[in-house]
Amino acid sequence: MELEKLINSLSALMSVTGHEGNGKAELESLIGAGFDESFTDAVGNRFFVKRCGREGAPKILIDAHMDEIGLIVSDIKDDGFLTVAPIGGVDLRTLQAGDVVIYGKEKIFGVVGSTPPHLRRPDEGNSLKEATELLIDTGYSKEKLSELVRIGTPVGFKPVYRHLFGSRIAGKGFDDKSCAACAVMGISRVAREELAGDVYLMLSSREETGMFGGAAPGAYSIAPDYAMVIDVNLGKTPDTSKSETVAVGGGASLTLCPVTDRTMNKKLIALAKEKEIKTQVCVTGGSTGTNASAVNLAGAGIPCVDVGLPLKGMHTATEVLDLEDAESVAALVALFVSTKDLTEVTA
C-alpha cells in the first residue's frame, strides 16, 4: 500500500484516548500482515512484533502513539443534543460548525453547534466557548439517542482527507497515526534477515491526556535495548518562529536534548546523510514533549531517539503534513531497525 493511503486509513480510525482498541480488526487487517505476532496489553498499547530469527538478538522498540484528541459525551440533553468533555488538548477555535461522529452502538453523525452572527449577543465579545459549553446536534430524540449513546461515548472528528498542492495532505488524526503508518512502512521495507534485532512496534495508548501515558508501562514490560519514539512535530507556520518549529518539507526531525541518546543521534544523522534521507534537527532544553521522556525512564532506563514528522494545524480536524517528510521518517525507521551497532560508542 502506498504511504498516503496507509496514513489516511490509519488516521481515519477513531482512537480517541482510552478508545484505542476501537478499530482493532481494521488495524490488524491494515498492518498485521507484515508482522509475526500482535497483542494488546492492560492499558491498551497495541504491539506488532517482527522477529529477526536470531537467538539473543537485541529488542528494538518503535513507539508511535495510537490515540488522538477528541471528545466524550458528558450528558444527553433534550431534542438529541449532547454535551461533551474534551479529551486532550482540543483546539477550541476549530470545533464550532465542525462535523463529528459519535461512536455509540451505531455511528451517529453530529454537528457541533455554533451561534450565527445574526443571533450573537454583543456582550459575548471575542470570548470562545469552552468545549463543555458546546452542544452536539444529532437530530435524534432524547429517548432514541439514550439507547445508542451513554455518558462516556467517544466523539471523533468526521474523517475527511484532501490532497493539497504538491505532496501536502490534510486531515484529522495525523497526530500520531501518520507516524504509525511511517513506522509500519519503514519496518516492512527491511527483510527479516536484515533486521538488527527483534522489532517491537508499539502503537501506544493515552499519550494525549498528559502525564500518564501508556508508553511507560508498555516500554517497562517489553524492556527493549533501545528505542525510537516517533511523533508529529510542530511545523513552521507564518505566525511562529524557526526556533520553536521544524520546517514542513525539511525532512524527518531528530530531537537533540538531554532525554535522547547522543550516540544514536549522531550515527543516525550521519547514516541518513549517506543514504540521502532528508533530516533536520530540533533542539530543546527540556523534555521532548513526546513519549520519549517516559520511554527513556522506563524500568532501568532505555536509550532512545525522538523522531518528528513536521505537522501544521496540530490538534485540529485539518492537520497538514508533507508526504515527502513522511517518506523520510519511514526511511529513517528502516535505517534504525537495520543498523546493527547503533548504540555502540565508536572512537
Binding site: 455554533s114 450565527p116 443571533l119 470562545l128 452542544l135 435524534y140 493539497l164 494545524g313 485539518t318 497538514v320
Partner: protein
C-alpha cells in the same frame, strides 16, 4: 420531483461554488437546470424567468444564489493566502475548516489555519482568533508556487459535505443552504405552476444578497412588482441552552413567515393571507418569533413605488457556517407553501 430528486437537487446546488460576487459557477448550474425554460440575465448577473399572466398583478418570487465566503487579498512569501470575508462569518467557525479556492484553472483545496494551539498562551486559547490572523494553506511552499495556482481577488467557500442525518434522516447539514434552498424551491415550482395562474410571475435568482442585498435591488427596479415573496433560510437557535424567547423558530414546525426583521416590516395582510392559505392546504408554517437578520425583501419592498413583501424562510441552525442544519420536512414543505399562496392568489 420526488423526495429523492428534491434532495439531490438541493445537494447539487449547495455543493456548488458561489460566494458573493462569484455566483457565475452556481448560476451556470441553475441555467442548465432551467433547460428549455426561457430566462434573461441582467447586467449584474441576476437570472430572471418570466411566466406571463396577462393583466394579472405582478408577483416576484426570489431567492439568492450567493453564499458567504472568502476573498483572497494577499499571497505571502511562504505561499499562504490571506483573506477577507464575503458576508458575515464568525471567526469561531472558520479556523481548521476545509475551503475550496477558486484557482487559475479549476478549484483547489485548502485549509483555513492559524497558529497551533501549542504555540498559544493561556489567554489566546480563550479568545477568538480574528480572521486577519488566519490564512489559507493550499500546500504551496512559496509565493511563486501559490501564484501559479491562484491570485488575489479570487474567492473561496467552505468545503463541507452534504449530509442527511438524525433519526430517520430528519435533518440536513450542508454549507450554503442559505440560500440554495430558495433556488431549489424556485426550480421545483417552475414545473408545478397552476394553469390559470392569478399572477404575472417573475422567478428571480439574485446575486450579492450577503453584502448589501444588492442584486435584488436592481431586479425589483426593472420588474416593478406589486408583490414579492422572498424564499430564504433564517437563523434560529432552538437549542436547549437558549431561552425560549430567543429561539426564533423551531426546526420541523414548517417554514417561518416573518413579521419584521432588521431590514423589513412585512405587509401584515400578506402575512395573514399566507398563514391562512397554508392552513387551508394543510401545510405547516410558523411565525418567526424574533427580530433578527434581514434579506432581499429589504431592498425589494423599498423599490420604485413600493412592493408588498412576504418572506418565507426555512428555519436553519448555525447559518453562515460550513454546517447549516435544517429539517428535511421543512424543506420539502416550502414549495407547497408557496404553491398554496399562488393558488389562492385571487383572494389577495
Amino acid at each position: 420531483m420526488t423526495r429523492e430528486e428534491k434532495l439531490q437537487l438541493l445537494s447539487e446546488l449547495c455543493l456548488e461554488f458561489g460566494p458573493t460576487g462569484s455566483e457565475r459557477y452556481v448560476a451556470k448550474v441553475i441555467k442548465e437546470k432551467l433547460g428549455d425554460i426561457e430566462y434573461t440575465v441582467d447586467r449584474l448577473g441576476n437570472i430572471i424567468v418570466h411566466i406571463p399572466g396577462e393583466g394579472a398583478p405582478k408577483l416576484m418570487v426570489s431567492a439568492h444564489m450567493d453564499e458567504v465566503g472568502f476573498i483572497i487579498n494577499e499571497i505571502t512569501d511562504d505561499g499562504y493566502l490571506k483573506f477577507d470575508t464575503l458576508g458575515g462569518i464568525d471567526p469561531r467557525v472558520m479556523c481548521g475548516k476545509y475551503v475550496t479556492v477558486e484557482g487559475k484553472e479549476g478549484f483547489i483545496p485548502g485549509v483555513i489555519a492559524a497558529k497551533a494551539i501549542h504555540h498559544q498562551n493561556a489567554d489566546e486559547r480563550k479568545k477568538v482568533t480574528p480572521h486577519k490572523s488566519m490564512y489559507i494553506d493550499i500546500g504551496a511552499t512559496s509565493r511563486e508556487e501559490a501564484e501559479s495556482l491562484t491570485e488575489p481577488g479570487n474567492s473561496a467557500t467552505f468545503d463541507s459535505e452534504f449530509v442527511i442525518f438524525g433519526e430517520d434522516g430528519a435533518f440536513i447539514k450542508s454549507k450554503a443552504i442559505d440560500d440554495r434552498i430558495g433556488c431549489a424551491v424556485l426550480l421545483d415550482l417552475l414545473g408545478r405552476l397552476p394553469k390559470n395562474c392569478p399572477f404575472d410571475l417573475y422567478f428571480c435568482f439574485t446575486v450579492r444578497e450577503e453584502i448589501g442585498l444588492s442584486g435584488a435591488r436592481t431586479v425589483a427596479h426593472a420588474i416593478d412588482p406589486d408583490f414579492c415573496i422572498v424564499l430564504e433560510s433564517t437563523a434560529v437557535a432552538d437549542l436547549p441552552d437558549v431561552p425560549e424567547s430567543r429561539r426564533v423558530a423551531k426546526l420541523g414546525d414548517g417554514c417561518a413567515i416573518s413579521l419584521r426583521d432588521n431590514a423589513t416590516i412585512y405587509d401584515r395582510d400578506f402575512v395573514n393571507f399566507a398563514l391562512e392559505a397554508a392552513k387551508k392546504k394543510g401545510v405547516a408554517a410558523q411565525i418567526k418569533k424574533y427580530v433578527s437578520g434581514g434579506n432581499d425583501a429589504g431592498s425589494i419592498h423599498r423599490s420604485v413605488d413600493g412592493v408588498r413583501a412576504l418572506a418565507i424562510s426555512v428555519p436553519s441552525r448555525y447559518i453562515h457556517s460550513p454546517a447549516n442544519v435544517i429539517s428535511t420536512a421543512d424543506y420539502l414543505s416550502m414549495s407547497e407553501l408557496v404553491l398554496a399562496i399562488i393558488e389562492n392568489g385571487k383572494e389577495l
